[in-house]
């Protein structure tokens, strides 16, 4: 009977692939057995079939019993934080692309139509990227929580010492910190991905606007998957902060690993031949800036350019070390202060 096939299909399409065939056969057998017993005549009527199906219950409820747990990509426990992060990411995406759009329009007002089109398409593509990656991060957290939660009949050993400590106000992270972190990470990622040509020297020395970019973006864009990966990992770190709202050893470890990986990536990127605009000095001279300012500046500027591009990585390493050091120091001070004690009179 068709209605039976439809019922069975409605149940098994909600189940993992591997269970489907077995449960399909089993359910068919069950429904036919039930029909055979409950039917008045030798050939069951469609009404009788419907009665049996009604007795078995809604296909979704039936499938849930077979699965043993409810399925969520992002469950109710995380959904509120998920919505907040999506909002913050969307705002950051739109804000940073708008800034890029405004700057580009100010520089080249006669190309506004092209820029507007690319502004809109960038928003759509960056917003969907942001949406996908935030969802992926949350789905992974959800999966992790599911793994740790005992199933209905399974028992799980635990020790009272595993209980999370009572939140310590000194270790608390203000909500503004992860939100600012997300905005900064998204901004930085988007500028690297679509606004790098704006990192440049702007001059009107020759009478009209000339732009001399610092970076050779063809080389930079070759690294885009890494830039996206760092953006995702960075936002992931902020989401973690937002959920835990506490300085923890795990968060510190994540921060250190993320920073070190970032420095290593920056090292590769900056030492990539042709990463810096190779014709920077020539282009700068062509703008006529030295005629206006005096030719004696060419040598020192050239030397500054060489020094900065050659040594920027050391500055990055230094800043990262200071940052890691200060985080570790904060953590150690917190540990040294000892756990908060509650006096029971």
């Amino acid at each position: 009977m068709e209605v039976i096939d439809r019922y069975v299909h409605a149940v098994i399409r909600r189940l993992p692939e591997g269970m489907r065939e077995d449960i399909r056969k089993e359910l068919h057998g069950l429904i036919e057995d039930m029909l055979e017993e409950q039917a008045a005549g030798p050939v069951p009527t469609p009404e009788e079939a419907e009665q049996v199906l009604l007795h078995l219950g809604h296909p979704a409820a039936m499938a849930a019993k077979y699965r043993g747990h409810e399925r969520y990509l992002v469950g109710p426990q995380l959904f509120e934080s998920y919505l907040s992060v999506i909002k913050v990411v969307m705002i950051a995406v739109i804000a940073s692309l708008s800034v890029i759009f405004v700057v580009e329009t100010a520089l080249r007002p006669n190309e506004i139509t092209d820029q507007f089109t690319s502004y809109i398409t960038s928003i759509v593509s960056a917003a969907s990227q942001g949406f996908v990656w935030v969802t992926v991060v949350f789905a992974m957290i959800e999966y992790g929580i599911r793994k740790k939660t005992p199933s209905e009949y399974g028992s799980m050993s635990w020790r009272p010492s595993d209980l999370p400590p009572i939140p310590d106000s000194r270790a608390e992270i203000k909500l503004s910190e992860p939100i600012a972190g997300i905005i900064f990470t998204v901004l930085f990622t988007i500028v690297l991905l679509s606004g790098a040509e704006l990192l440049a020297i702007y001059t009107t020395a020759s009478g009209e606007l000339s732009i001399v970019p610092f970076i050779n973006f063809d080389v930079l864009y070759r690294f885009w998957p890494f830039i996206v990966a760092f953006g995702v990992a960075g936002v992931g770190k902020e989401i973690y902060k937002m959920l835990v709202r506490q300085r923890t050893a795990g968060l510190l470890a994540y921060h250190i690993i993320f920073s070190v990986a970032g420095v290593i990536f920056a090292g590769f990127l900056l030492s990539e031949p042709g990463f810096w605009n190779p014709a920077f000095m020539e282009q700068l001279q062509a703008t006529g800036i030295f005629i206006e300012a005096g030719n004696e500046f060419f040598e020192p500027v050239s030397r500054i350019w060489e020094t900065v591009t050659g040594n920027l990585i050391y500055l990055i390493i230094l800043i990262t070390l200071i940052d890691i050091g200060s985080e570790v120091f904060k953590w150690l001070r917190l540990k040294k202060a000892g756990p908060i004690t509650i006096n029971i009179p």
């Binding site: 077995d22 069950l30 039930m34 078995l56 039936m62 019993k65 077979y66 043993g68 009949y153």
Partner: protein, 114 residues
């Protein structure tokens, strides 16, 4: 005010959930398919919903208390479940626990009456 009969039904179905497992294990010395088990249990005074029993059988199989095999010789292919040696041991242990529980509950109820 809450309906007495309705409240009893809700609590009773919670109580039954665990006892169904004992009932299932007790009846599977010989292999049976799901629906025949429904009928047998019902005849013995343990009504169980097929929609509950079928997923339960799979879960007990996953816990290695039951083993299953498909019988495709008949017109309707059926999945037969039978208790495993491990399931038999667990069942014996559960029976002892159940009796102890029953004794304790009886005592409690009798002393309430007295």
């Amino acid at each position: 005010m809450a309906d007495v009969a309705e409240t009893i039904q809700t609590i009773l179905s919670e109580l039954r959930r665990g006892t169904i497992i004992i009932g299932v294990l007790s009846q599977l010395e010989e292999a049976q398919y799901g629906y025949s088990l429904v009928t047998v249990l019902e005849d013995k005074g343990i009504p169980v919903d097929p929609g509950t029993l079928y997923p339960l059988l799979r879960r007990l199989e996953k816990q290695e208390l039951l083993a299953s095999s498909w019988d495709t010789n008949e017109a309707r292919p059926r999945k037969y479940y039978v208790i495993t040696p491990f399931g038999r041991e667990v069942y014996a242990g559960l029976c002892l626990e159940w009796k102890a529980l029953n004794e304790a509950m009886t005592k409690i109820m009798n002393s309430e009456e007295a």
